[in-house]
């Protein structure tokens, strides 16, 4: 069991790290550098606020994009290249494959996001902006959000084409980001059915509002550790549910 998992984890990690990690990080570093060029215009106080805000928001966007990209690519690539045939005929359970893959990309995403975060910290240090614990908490929440996206992408790609899973994952991300607002709209809606549907969606989707701490980051406010802990639990529970659904689907499907 552990051997199987470790096989999948190390394979996934090696494969994705060797493949494309440098591009994402390089792109991020260049973007951050260009951004820092336009900062000169602002007052010092504003600079600190804007740098923290923009960099961490950008990191969040990258986290979602990378989560989606790696999550979708993971299974489709194996099916396209028919690697999955050799794997699933081995003495393993399909859920082990899924969990191993997921842990593998979680590690990859961590390394990628951490590298980008280091770039951000570098810029902050150069600009002598305060580096506080809020930034690290925000980084962790961003990471959690990106692995939720990856898990959702993985789940969608167990039963649909790459195209369709991209669409569904995008829908999932947008709705999850809008989750806090859905409640407001639901309250305003007059039709019972619409209200029920919105409440249902709000209930089923994760609330990315919990992971969005941009206000605290911009103004260097403290984030209570209880919030970080609670959000981590929320994320993990959500991921477990997604992976369970994905396992059930994978167990049932034919590989043609």
């Amino acid at each position: 069991m552990m051997l199987t998992l470790s096989a999948f984890i190390s394979q996934t990690f090696k494969e994705s790290i060797r493949n494309k990690i440098m591009y994402g990080i390089g792109f991020f570093a260049v973007a951050i550098f260009l951004f820092s060029l336009v900062l000169g215009e602002l007052s010092l106080y504003e600079q600190a606020r804007v740098i923290r805000d923009v960099c961490m928001t950008f990191l969040m966007v990258m986290g979602i994009a990378l989560g989606m990209y790696t999550g979708i690519g993971l299974i489709h690539k194996e099916i396209d290249r028919r690697i999955i045939y050799t794997i699933l005929s081995k003495p393993i359970r399909r859920y082990q494959f899924l969990i191993g893959k997921f842990i593998g990309i979680s590690c990859t995403l961590f390394v990628e996001l951490a590298a980008m975060f280091l770039v951000v910290l570098g810029l902050l240090a150069v600009r002598s902006v305060d580096i506080d614990v809020t930034l690290f908490q925000a980084f962790w929440l961003t990471y959690l959000q990106s692995i939720i996206v990856a898990a959702a992408a993985l789940m969608f790609s167990t039963f649909s084409s790459a195209m369709l899973s991209t669409l569904m994952t995008s829908g999932f991300v947008i709705l999850s980001l809008l989750n806090p607002q859905i409640g407001i709209y639901a309250a305003q809606s007059k039709t019972l059915e619409v209200r029920a549907a919105m409440r249902g969606a709000q209930f089923l989707l994760p609330n990315f509002g919990h992971f969005d701490v941009s206000t605290q980051v911009s103004y260097a406010l403290e984030i209570p550790w209880s919030h970080v802990l609670w959000s981590s639990c929320h994320a993990i529970a959500y991921i477990v549910v997604l992976l369970c659904i994905a396992s059930i689907i994978l167990e049932k499907r034919d590989f043609i």
Binding site: A7, S10, Y85, F255
Partner: protein, 344 residues
């Protein structure tokens, strides 16, 4: 009693590795759910230690059959027993090696890393590194040990595929077109590996288009067409059907000899200068001695007598050229040929 004992022992020895009964797979494709009967009622048995070759034209259902055997797709109907387990049981996957039809592997892993990965999936924890090196050696890929698979040619990938199928020391090896994409040396290597695996007591089930390889390797073959198993049988039996005899005689035959030979039905005679070639139809096989005597008494020297069976290719072609028949039609044909047999 001793007879019964011996019988039992024989049964033990001929353990069935694959038993398929009326196995079928139907796909529904596209938006209109068009029905495709990829495999229709295949019944088949493969014994331990056999090399079984599955042949058939493109789209015949070979890959679909193999995917059912390896648990990748579930049969629509019929029953399947692999190594004594019903259906596809995970317990048999430990003893199963499989090479898919077309496969690529993780391109950024090296040859050694990929085999290590598959060895881990088989749960091999000790001596893994040694096993990996051993198999790289066996498929002649040691020189590319630390090269990434992205740089491999098709044939090199195929060798890695073969190594991953065998690294877990499986009892049953299922290979979907193992020789495709290989150069002559590669094909010979594959044949050698297959034969060696048989010598180690493994059972090999493979599909192929390369009939000479099948002919050289297999104990039994099955010919599948349009999802139906048209013939299954030992290769020797299949090829000895329609066996004709060729006789080569030296010397100039006199008119009397050619006259006599010409009168016998089922013997074809060709004369080129001082060489006479006779071809005897299968039914004339028992008359071979008489004909040879006749030749000797007419002063001809016998230089060669060859029994020539049909090769797999002619068998294959004869099935290809016969028109596609419906299910009832086949049954009728079989019934009539059976009744003919019982009459004779």
């Amino acid at each position: 009693m001793p007879v019964a004992g011996a019988h039992d022992k024989k049964r033990d020895m001929t353990e069935m590795m694959i038993e398929l009964k009326e196995l079928s797979k139907t796909f529904y494709t596209g938006f209109r759910r068009r029905r495709v009967d990829a495999v229709r009622g295949v019944t088949l048995e493969v014994e331990r230690g056999e090399i079984f070759g599955l042949i058939g034209p493109n789209g015949a259902g070979k890959t679909t059959t193999i995917k059912m055997l390896t648990g990748l797709i579930k049969p629509t109907s019929g029953s399947m027993k692999i190594m004594g387990y019903d259906g596809f049981d995970r317990r048999c996957s430990r003893k199963l090696g499989y090479l898919p039809e077309i496969s690529y592997y993780y391109e950024s892993l090296t040859a050694a890393e990929i085999l290590d990965f598959y060895a881990k999936l088989y749960g091999i924890s000790e001596n893994r590194a040694r096993k990996v090196d051993e198999w790289l050696e066996r498929v002649n890929m040691s020189y590319a040990r630390d090269k990434r698979l992205g740089q491999f040619s098709k044939g090199m990938q195929q060798r890695i595929g073969l190594a991953q199928a065998l690294i877990g020391n499986p009892d049953l090896v299922i290979l979907d077109e193992p020789q495709s994409g290989l150069d002559p040396i590669g094909r010979r290597d594959v044949s050698n590996i297959i034969r060696e695996a048989q010598n180690q007591g493994k059972t090999i089930f493979f599909s192929s288009h390369i009939l000479p390889d099948v002919e050289r390797l297999c104990d039994r073959v099955g010919l599948i067409r349009k999802g139906r198993m048209e013939i299954v049988g030992s290769l020797r039996e299949l090829l000895s059907q329609n066996q004709h005899i060729e006789i080569e005689l030296l010397g100039s035959p006199d008119a009397e000899f050619t006259d006599k030979i010409g009168k016998i039905d089922g013997v074809k005679c060709e004369v080129h200068e001082a060489v006479v070639n006779l071809t005897l139809d299968p039914i004339m096989a028992s008359k071979t001695n008489d004909i040879l005597q006749l030749a000797i008494s007419s002063g001809l020297a016998v230089s060669r007598v060859i029994e020539r069976g049909q090769d797999l290719e002619t068998l294959f072609e004869s099935f290809e050229s016969s028109p596609a028949e419906s299910a009832d039609h086949t049954d009728e044909a079989q019934a009539s040929s059976a009744s003919e047999e019982s009459r004779s």
